[in-house]
Amino acid sequence: MGVAGFILRRSAAAIVVLVGLSILIFVVARIIPGDPARMALGSVATPEQVEKLRNRLHLDESLPIQYWEFIKGLARGDLGESLVTRRSVSLDLIDTFPATLELVLAAGLIMVLVGVPLGIIAARYRDTAVDNVARLFALLGVVTPSFVWAVFLMLLLSFVLGLLPVAGRLSEAFDPPPMVSGMYTLDALIAGQWRAFWDAIQHLILPALALALAGMGQAARLTRTNMAEVYGRQYIEMARAFAFREHEIALKYALRPAMIPTLTILGLDFAVMLGNAFLVEAVFVWPGMAKYGVFAILRKDLNAIVGTVLVIGAMFLIVNIIVDMLTAYINPQIRLGRRVA
């Protein structure tokens, strides 16, 4: 099975899941109580005005017809109009999603680049002081919720030490860089605006760290546990019996088998981050999808609810496919099936 075939099959499956998800959220959004048109227009609107809006939203049609209208719009890249912002939901998402994505990607990067090495070191120096410190640190990360970290880090690093900006994505002094990805750090890099890039990074560190700590602790603990298990295997003793170097055993011959079970869980942790991002965004006034999504639900902004859920669902599925590809890459048994010789 080639890589292209693998991606194709998984993408097809992902699309089926997305269609299912869209139907589900479409129906759920419509059966929660409350009249969206009335909520959007407020108590001063006349019944005629409300009725007009209900018509425009096809709210008096049957659910299948409403869904069909939705799909027709979706084919044009149109997710409908938001009742709160009175703008196209697609445009709203393009404005808010990149900020959330930037935050989650940065947190994911910290989770993997700090958490996994911490686990490797703990496993390599098992039952020493290094190990104990790493484990304590990891445990703290796991048991403390992201928003607590958010408040704590903000107080410590911004208010007390004054090292990092308190909130937002960019200082007043800078204009957002020309939009390419919508992620300020990346776009500033692309535009060659180094000072804006540095400013964006400084704004990103705190929320990303707050979001990452739980997953990072988890990654460290998992890596340590799985590495320790692999260290007990016969092939590690065999490597030593043939004078392989200890650091090479740790970073190559033990790490790869240990990462197979670790990766799957890291993928799930990453998905959990998407949820936690909402809380962290609230603390740091990060203009991501959090505020948009919360308002959408509170105001029963149908199209915005469906749009937000679909974007998160798609992201979840993409992460899943990437994790599966990485797993297949490091685990030859998945790639090749069993026994040929």
Binding site: R233, Q234, Y235, E237, M238, A239, R240, A241, F242, A243, F244, E246, Y253, R256, P257, I260, I330, N331, P332, Q333, L336, R338, R339, V340, A341
Partner: protein
């Protein structure tokens, strides 16, 4: 001077249940080019002896006492650096289970090249590949490249076993430690394995210390044999003497437990089990299972030299068979 000599080798583990004293003063010797067997029931400490010899216990919580001399120099006090010139170069090891001994996430080639490079036979992967090909052909592997490019789980047990043999021998060591080679495989493959090891060992002039619970393997392969029970050597002799004039009650019990094709005697399994090492019997460790046990067995048994390299650790070396 013997090639390998362990003297009064003790290995203890501190466990939650107490101190587990497994190896209880193991003395054994292997001369250059000699094929020696260590035989005993499962759990007697045979594998542990091999691991102690190669210094692999330093990664566990084992406490080791005594001496292991290789070609005259002490191994137990060797630094990690010092081990580099021994492991894989002068002493090769064949692990018991070929499927567990190879890393499942790397190709056979990756692992074998590393063995060759760490063994100082090659600097580059390219050169290592040439050596590996040659060595695999030598172990009767017709298509070395296919094996080198395969992952361990793609190989049959027999092929994996030959890969392990290749790894142990490719750097032309002076001593090979073979832990139950082929025992995880069927009888025919096991026999092939022994024949192959014997041929290659002879060709290199390497000494082989083979570990086994199977007396058939001893008879087929070894020149001299040590019988091990519960962490002690109870009898040593050349193979003929051991089979025809065994003296230790444990050796005799082992021989009687072997199923035979001829004769009316049914095999007699040995009563009881290998002791718990946190509370091992004092004196002769076999006495609780011994049909000839007597009060004197509570003391450490004397080692009686019967001449011709035949030694037995028993108070009753003359006991009637």
């Amino acid at each position: 001077m013997a090639l390998l000599e362990t003297t009064d080798l003790h290995v203890r583990f501190e466990l939650f249940e107490g101190m587990s004293h497994v190896l209880n003063g193991v003395n054994l010797k292997v001369e250059r080019g000699e094929r020696v067997a260590v035989v005993g029931e499962s759990g007697c400490g045979k594998s542990l002896t091999a691991r102690a010899v190669l210094g692999l216990l330093r990664h566990t919580n084992a406490q080791i006492d005594g001496s292991v001399r290789f070609d005259g120099s002490e191994l137990l006090s060797l630094s990690e650096r010092g081990w580099r010139s021994i492991r894989g170069r002068r002493i090769g090891m064949i692990f018991q289970d070929p499927t567990a001994a190879l890393n499942p996430t790397f190709t056979v080639g990756d692992q074998l090249f590393k063995v060759i490079i760490r063994g100082g036979r090659a600097r580059t992967k390219r050169r290592a590949r040439e050596i590996a090909r040659e060595a695999l052909r030598h172990t009767a592997i017709a298509d070395p490249d296919r094996v080198l490019n395969a992952y361990p789980f793609q190989l049959s047990g027999g092929l994996a076993q030959r890969v392990l043999i290749t790894m142990a021998l490719v750097n032309e060591p002076e001593l090979v430690l073979a832990d139950e080679p082929g025992s995880a495989l069927d009888v025919t493959v096991q026999e092939q394995t022994l024949r192959l090891m014997r041929a290659l060992g002879d060709e290199l002039g390497a000494a082989v210390l083979i570990i086994t619970h199977n007396l058939g393997v001893v008879r087929e392969f070894a020149q001299r044999v040590y019988v091990m029970y519960a962490g002690s050597i109870v009898e040593e002799a050349d193979v003929d003497t051991l089979f025809h004039a065994p003296r230790h009650p444990y050796t005799r019990a082992l021989l009687e437990a072997v199923p035979r094709l001829t004769g009316e005697m049914l095999p007699q399994p040995i009563e009881g089990v290998v002791p718990d090492y946190t509370a091992a019997p004092v004196g002769c460790r076999f006495h609780p299972r011994c049909p000839h046990a007597q009060p004197a067995c509570q003391e450490p048994p004397p080692v009686v030299d019967l001449g011709g390299g035949h030694r037995v650790a028993c108070v009753l070396p003359e006991a009637a068979p």
